[in-house]
Symmetry: C2
Subunit: 586 residues, 2 copies
């Protein structure tokens, strides 16, 4: 080894030792008679001292060293006179006897500091320098720890980690595949997996009974902010289980991670049906760090001549505790907020429950004090509270009110990222109607089992009402994972494809091998997949997943560092029997 | 859970317990008054008994159940009268009270037995059934255990597992890339990584200092037997180290795996230079389970009028202990063996050292008994030994003799797959001349550092002689892993690209981001990658890697189960701005 100690480990009790350290020059200060250098590696920072009196040549050499030079340094550990309580090595410094420059460095394009001066684009282009910043490095260290915790937990529970293929068959159902042309099978393509769904089900058919994998998945979607074309899942499947068993097993996993990583201990996770999540929070991923449940107000709001409410399918609101003092300006801002195209509401009605007991609303023309008191009672509002009411088509207004609820939660500082509110959301609908395509789509995926209470009767009568044995894990308003009990019966699976508008031939050509497998003794099975990038970001209390990925892509799917994707040689295209269609021709 | 016990865990002390098991019907025997069923799951086999006297309906039901039916069974654990010592549950059986058919099964296309009647192709098509066979299942269980051992060992050594991207930049150097067309960047392509080489080097530049990953890699090569287009590497890199440190670290890893998995303990691994490996074994991956070193014979073979030897660049042979009794037929077979096109030799000379002290050779015309005795002395041959001698161009004849040596090793049963002979091969040449392209290629890859004793002088004078700081780990004649000290200096890297015939512009357009990174303080670093599929097969004493991969592809890169690759929709092609070139047109 070129070193015998790291820059993070020396302490007061090491004083007097001769050590050799390697690292990067974080910064240096020349005080005229001494040069102080902060030497940085992955483990910490250690202060070096070069004294003009004891070693003039070394002192002169030290003055020539620039930021991010890679150094190998020999010296004696000494107690610092001026201790630094902020770093673990702050009690000591190294009295340097020898400095070897392992590699010089150009001046980096941005500062390697927690608060860097580099913009997003610049840091993406020089990602290898951005990764030197301790804030980014710590994210990847967290990710490493979580990955090992997951594997060891699941291995102890008899799960086998089994690698599924990356070059698989393309199926038009679901999101768009990335495809890979095959040279040996000209004009044919592999697809990169959107998830190992069918393979893990086949492993259950094979009798592997408990499978997991931390695995890259791929989706060629138009990237919204914080979506990546390649992302990582903790992918799991179990046989001979029911929904309850899966929820318990993976609740155990998530609790284990919180205990080991954050020393946080949770009781049994909350459970909420999809129906209740929509009704009380307007979202299938409710943020339960704060209450502020929806209250439905049709009976007190309608019939008073206010046409907006009278004509609405649903009148619904939330009560913001202690916000009756909101100014006109603040209230206008809230109205503007719900009217933004991202929320899309027509307007917002407020009712203040003033400290003096009076009620003041934006619709006083239609509602008397007594009428408004009925609202207040519905909300169980108290003096000082602010009621915010919206109306419209039921599902639409719920989604809009959800945005307002989250905004109020933020304004009231009720969304601390380190206060973890966890819930399972269960009983998702099996199918979701798509207006555009005029057909049902599977809400999770076509392999999800219907709740036997609703199947087969309701599937014929009212398909949209059929509940699935499907579940999501939601932390702080973010879907962290989800899964379902799978269909393991061939006839039921065919019936499901039919409900999704597949002809039998289409179903067999796309999913024939899974359908075949169901002929040969498929066990009951169920599974779950967690978004690992997202899980890491939540553990770190961050919103963006990008900084939990070593080399992420930007919103156009480009890697700015390697300038990829890029053009390839004509020879490569020829070998693949492909030709490019000029983009202007389309 | 649908079960409370598995089919592998019940023992004599569990007798009297009521249990519920789930599994597959392995086989059933109707003895007229009783039906015995072997119920199988991942954990083992348990015998079920249905007795016509105690439960006629159940007995009748049991008769209707076919092979591979999925059953859920309730019953009482009883001691068996007729114990089966071959299985762990052989002391007990289940007196069944209830059988639920969880899923019936068609008759499987081959038997689910260790010695199946299914051919390769059929088992590939129904891979999910092949995976039910315990011989295949155990391979994947071994793979799981090795993966966890690797991760825990390296994590304890402060290595961080960091995921590198799968959608990267295509570079024409090296093997052929699989490419992935980008829809959002029309006419441009990603490549799938042949290895994370450049990314792991960037992680070293980032200061991550110890990195590993168990990761899929991709190579679009014409598949020889036992090559897969996607394969798995244990990929590792370290900073602030020299070659010796890397060898020690990963020797530690391999020893750990042998200790934990097989309770085998090794001393320090042998080391051999590439030069010696070629000289004494004719291969850079010598099989050291047996000795039979090459002996060079120019001084005793030449000058006796035998033109074949006289004209040869090298005369070289091996001594097969105790084989002087080989018959004419056996010797002819050896000659045929070396003349096969795969070996390509012109012929083979033998010298028998008979038990009576006489020497008998196929070239007695040219060599006297005294001459032949000089051969015997060179070989340190004893009475009863057989000397086999070949000649030709030095490197060619060595390779040919290597094939013969391995064949003799096999004939003499010296190649027990569970007798592990491990060596590091070091000091590989940096460059390899390619006659076809009339240029040098990097023997490992262009990022490998030259030995400073040979650089830069020898690179100018005699590039083929420059030794690299490169090393392979060889077990039983198979290269299990390899790596090198990397170049971390920008000028040296440019010099290397130049030696490989790159213009500066080509080098920068393909590897610019790594070259850029070297400007900003790249530390000295080195690494290694192990072929994980291969490592698993060696631990299991198997030759083929295919059965250590859950869903392998055949030699045309096809997955027979999912019938992939396959054609995709015109719509998908249009979105990618691609059109197919008909294969007949080329």
């Amino acid at each position: 080894m070129l070193r015998n100690k790291t820059c993070g480990e020396l302490r007061i009790e090491d004083c007097g030792q001769e050590v050799t350290l390697c690292g990067w020059l974080q910064k240096s200060r020349d005080l005229g008679s001494m040069t102080f250098i902060d030497l940085r590696d992955r483990y910490g920072i250690t202060q070096l001292v070069c004294n003009v009196e004891t070693n003039k040549a070394l002192y002169e050499q030290a003055k020539t060293l620039g930021r991010e030079y890679v150094l190998r340094v020999k010296g004696i550990v000494r107690e610092r006179s001026n201790k630094n309580k902020n770093i673990a090595t702050g009690d000591i410094e190294i009295e340097v006897s020898e400095i070897e420059v392992l590699n010089p460095s150009d001046l980096p394009p941005f500062t390697i500091e927690d608060n860097t001066d580099g913009g997003d684009e610049l840091r993406m282009k020089y990602r290898y320098l951005d990764l030197r910043r301790s804030v980014v490095r710590k994210n990847l260290e967290l990710r490493h720890r979580l990955a090992q915790l997951v594997r060891n937990y699941l291995s102890n529970e008899n799960f086998l980690e089994i690698e599924t293929p990356f070059l698989i068959k393309s199926t038009p159902e679901g999101a768009r595949d990335f495809v890979v042309p095959s040279r040996m099978n000209p004009n044919q393509f592999y697809a990169l997996p959107q998830s190992p769904q069918q393979y893990k089900q086949l492993l259950m058919v094979s009798g592997f009974d408990r499978y997991f994998q931390i695995v890259k998945c791929f989706r060629d979607e138009d990237l919204r902010a914080d979506r990546q074309p390649e992302f990582t899942q903790i992918d799991c499947e179990m046989s001979f289980v029911q929904q309850e068993d899966v929820l318990n097993m993976f609740e155990g996993l998530i609790k284990h991670l919180f205990e080991k990583e954050k020393n946080l201990h949770f009781g049994k996770f909350q459970r909420m049906t999809w129906h209740d999540a929509m009704k009380y929070y307007g979202s299938d991923k409710p943020d339960l760090r704060f209450d502020m449940q929806f209250v439905e107000l049709d009976d007190v709001a309608k019939g008073k001549g206010f046409k907006v409410f009278d004509d609405a399918e649903l009148v619904v609101g939330i009560c913001a505790k202690g916000c009756a003092e909101y100014t006109r300006k603040q209230l206008d801002a809230l109205t503007d907020f719900v009217k933004r195209p991202q929320v899309g509401a027509k307007g917002l009605v407020y009712i203040k429950y003033n400290e003096d007991g009076t009620l003041k609303s934006s619709v006083d023309k239609f509602y008397s004090q007594q009428d408004l008191m009925l609202f207040a009672q519905k909300f169980a509002a108290q003096k000082g509270d602010l009621m915010l009411v919206m109306s419209g088509k039921a599902m639409q207004v719920r989604t809009q009110l959800c945005a307002l609820r989250l905004e109020m939660g933020s304004q009231l500082n009720l969304r601390d990222p380190f206060n973890y509110a966890i819930t399972w959301v269960t009983d998702f609908p099996l199918l979701e109607w798509n207006e555009e395509d005029n057909r049902f789509y599977a809400m999770h995926h076509p392999f999800t089992a219907p709740n036997p209470e609703d199947y087969p009767e309701l599937l014929d009568k009212d398909p949209g009402k059929v509940r699935a044995w499907a579940y999501d894990l939601v932390i702080n308003g973010t879907e962290v994972g989800g899964g379902s009990v799978r269909i393991h019966n061939r006839d039921m699976q065919m019936r499901m494809f039919e409900a999704l508008g597949f002809t039998q031939q289409e179903a067999l050509s796309q999913f024939g091998f899974l359908m075949d497998a169901f002929r040969y003794g498929a066990p009951p099975h169920a599974g779950v997949a967690f978004g690992f990038d997202r899980l890491c970001s939540i553990f770190a209390g961050c919103d963006s997943i990008r900084d939990f990925i070593a080399f992420p892509k930007n919103n156009s799917g480009r890697d700015l560092m390697s300038d990829s994707p890029n053009f390839i040689d004509q020879k490569q295209l020829d070998e693949l029997y492909l030709s490019l269609v000029p983009t202007e021709k389309k």
